[in-house]
Amino acid sequence: AFLKAIELRGFKTFARPTEILLVPGVTVIIGPNGSGKSNLADAVLWALGEQSPSALRGKGMQDVLFAGSKGHQPSAAAEVNLLFDNSQGEFPGGYQEVQITRRVLREGASEYFINGSACRLLDLQELCAAVGLGREMHSVISQGKVDELLSSSPAARRALVEEAA
């Protein structure tokens, strides 16, 4: 399975619908300080079901919604889609492609979708666990957090390995 595309709108500084197409290999993302690179990484963490505001650098989960700026109204909703290629069938269910979606309205609760149909967070987490994207999300190393892989306790490290298994 490969990540083929990230689509987002209303998420942090991505007020406008934005699409990033990906091919296997090394994709490098550059840009000035404060331009929105780490916000992209946060968008992927959020779409995979992240529940902790501080892991997304906010105080509350509402901080993921674009808060407005000069000339732009705050967004009423945020949505992130992750599109995976599933031609090798790693994700269960027999689909050629698997799309994971998370959406939230201001003051509302998050909604989750798999290939367009609504599901529970638990369903999404179980689907992701099949390809090693467990709750620990070790495949997303947020800025400044590379050392955390080391400084966690022995038991936490074991939990990480257990989940990846």
Partner: protein, 182 residues
């Protein structure tokens, strides 16, 4: 379950050794399953926050002890490692997990910021060695990292406070670079 974990752990252990010897020539990296009793302050690791087993103070829990022995240096606790040594050891652990079970993608947000030129080179050699097996999304300010990109995205912040994602450069099989609108 226990046997799946044990055989997976064994794979991670072997890969970690290998990754450490690639990133720190002459060094040895060890992962060991050990019972860390929560009350046992003398844990050979640095002051990792002691886990209190749900069953109370004394139930020993199985944890993974990570140690690294650098060439010419006495084995030290992880906290005394330098900024670059810590980052590189963490990268070795991440790649060990990847080799045992690859994820569909990895996002690495400025993980090489603390590395010197030499170690950036070693990190990049790992990325290019395994790029066929997964998707690496690497956020960076380092020029050398940009140079190994198959696809390069630029993110900018407009006068209107909104992020924009700019052109993609695709490296064709023949290595030539062409501009694609995005």
């Amino acid at each position: 379950i226990a046997t799946v974990f044990a055989s997976f752990f064994e794979e991670v252990r072997v890969s970690f050794r290998e990754m450490v010897s690639v990133l720190f020539p002459g060094a040895r990296g060890e992962l060991r399953l050990e019972e860390t009793k929560p009350a046992d302050g003398a844990d050979a690791e640095e002051g990792a926050e002691e886990d209190v087993a749900p069953g109370g103070r004394c139930a020993p829990i199985l944890g993974i002890n990570l140690q690294i022995k650098l060439p010419h240096k006495a084995p030290r606790t992880l906290t005394l490692l330098s900024g670059g040594e810590k980052a590189l050891t963490a990268i070795a652990f991440l790649f060990a997990l990847f080799l045992a079970k690859p994820c569909p993608f990895y996002i690495l947000d400025e993980v090489e910021a603390a590395l010197d030129n030499h170690n950036i080179g070693r990190f990049l050699s790992l990325l290019t060695r395994y790029q066929e097996r997964t998707q690496f999304l690497v956020v960076t300010h380092q020029r050398r990292t940009m140079e190994i990109a198959d696809t390069l995205y630029g993110v900018t912040m407009g006068e209107d406070g909104v992020s924009r994602v700019l052109s993609r450069r695709l490296r064709r099989p023949d290595g030539a670079v062409r501009q694609a609108s995005s």
